[in-house]
């Protein structure tokens, strides 16, 4: 089983978003970076599949040189190889991103044989475009299902399941090679071990520098939405506040005497 996982470096936003003065980016000076939560699970899933069935795993990202950190994080929990499509920091839209990934997949497959399975996160945490995985699958003429929270890989095919609403599940059978976009909840990603981190530090990251291109969705700028909420009214301190809380619950009709 030869698996490719595609991830994206995004800021760890925490409690409040602050923009840069030009409104082009999130001010990330005081923030850490990570990969989108769905992708953390995609990385973990790839490692688990190969631990069980054998094979190789590769992680790929399109991003600035520092996105190498996120590739090493993936290698620290067991991904073997990493490819960085290094950008100059400009944002790539979904069409351009998918094109660059497809070009790299073609080159990789020509050199090292086909990927049986390509994993994406369902959508990136930051831009939330909901389309790069589908575009890559269609360009490669491979089947894809998105929103996947359960995966069983068999000989030549896989079964994938996702929420069908109201607690029901729908499931799909796909022949390999296939593409799957996973959602958080498919697994509980492990923490990297210290030896894993050290091993990842020494590993090589293959680098490609694709040329920036327009894709048809062009960012003008970012802004924070107007929220009409006002700050919370403090109705009490400590356990003595229980009386005020229950008064409130009665007043708003959540409970009755």
């Amino acid at each position: 089983m030869n698996i490719l996982v595609c991830v994206k470096r995004v800021p760890q936003t925490g409690g409040r978003i602050v923009l840069t003065p030009d409104g082009q980016e999130i001010d990330a000076r005081y923030l850490g970076f990570t990969v989108s939560p769905h992708e953390e699970c995609a990385v973990e899933e790839a490692v688990r599949i190969v631990e069980k069935a054998g094979g190789t795993t590769t992680v790929l990202t399109l991003g600035p040189a520092v996105a190498e950190d996120q590739l090493r994080d993936a290698m620290a929990i067991g991904i073997e190889r990493a490819i960085l499509l290094e950008t100059d920091g400009r944002e790539w839209d979904p069409v351009a991103t998918a094109e660059a990934i497809v070009e790299t997949i073609h080159a990789e497959e020509a050199a090292n044989g086909p990927f049986d399975l390509i994993l994406f996160g369902n959508e990136s945490a930051d831009t939330g475009g909901y389309q790069v995985g589908v575009r890559v699958a269609v360009a490669l003429d491979r089947p894809i299902v998105t929103g996947i929270k359960g995966l069983e890989v068999g000989e030549g095919s896989l079964v994938a399941r996702r929420d069908a609403g109201g607690g029901a599940w729908e499931s799909f059978e796909l022949d390999l090679p296939a593409v799957i976009a996973v959602k958080e909840g498919i697994n509980l990603p492990r923490y990297p071990s210290v030896p894993g981190r050290l091993r990842a530090k020494r590993k090589e990251v293959a680098k490609v520098s694709p040329e920036w291109r327009a894709g048809g969705l062009e960012k003008i700028g970012l802004r924070l939405p107007q929220e009409d909420r006002t700050r919370a009214e403090v109705i009490g301190q400590g356990p003595e506040a229980a009386i005020a809380v229950v008064d409130l619950l009665e007043r708003i009709g959540v409970v009755r005497k």
């Binding site: 936003t13 269609v138 729908e170 909840g185 802004r223 909420r229 109705i235």
Partner: protein, 322 residues
Amino acid sequence: MSGGILVVVDAPGGEPDRLSLEVLTFARSLGAPLHAVLFGPGAEKLGPSGVSTAHVVEDKRLAGPVPEARAGAIVQLVEQVSPSTVVAAGSERGNELLAHVAARLGQPMAANVVSAVLEGERLRLVRQRWAGSLLEDAWLDGSPKLLTVAPHAVAAEPAPKATSLATSPFEPALTDRDFRVRVRPIEAAATSGISLSDARVVVGGGRGVGSGEAFSELEELAGLLGAAVGGSRVVTSAGWRPHSDQIGQTGLRIAPDLYIACGISGAIQHIVGCKAAKRILAINTDPDAPIMDVADYAVIGDLHAVVPAIAAELRRRGIAAS
């Protein structure tokens, strides 16, 4: 392109769903005539929404979750109708479907748009990033323009005047390849208590709860209030609660009458999942926690003391959920 707007309508049980009615409202602001495509019954309900032509795909194979085949049908319909814009709901399934259409047509697509105006050949739009915590102003090119509308970005309203609606059967030419993803029978829901999505009151726990065991305090309060219990991403990532209990950007979006946020600092990942609650009561030791910016009411204190005290006070007054 001859113009006109094509809207993908979902009508489970023959009734257009709320998101579809929102998308139709949004689409009317972009131009006319309004075309709709449905993969099942419900077309006759679209006159009040201002639809001129409803294209009904009657092929039973397209009734299920088959985005590849549905995209194949929409691409053929686009060739026939030549719309200037194709719009779908910004739901998980709507985004998936339109991504397939975009990939097949080789056109760009904007997901979760909240407003859009045509300026010359380009669409100037505002769309959601970070699940709505941030807005992006952007240009969208392409022909047709492809976009999904963020859920609840516009309120569903009937057209100022109803149109005379024509219904037209549409039979796409599909191949086996369009059905290469094989759909298996749906597994029914395991029966359980009150679901987080439907509960009128939700008690949520965050890092401050401290352990999976300590959620029993929240469970006790929830039991008295007829509430469901959920948690932040910290809680599900630590394994204190199953992922299906997560409220947030990568979990559930809830909209109860009251959300009681216990020991939750209020990371934006969590806020996008709970801000549709009518009222939020935060219980937190930190009066400056970001949750205070979105909460309506707050109790400053340790949830391990406050939550059991609320439960005790409810019992003392002999109070039950209404």
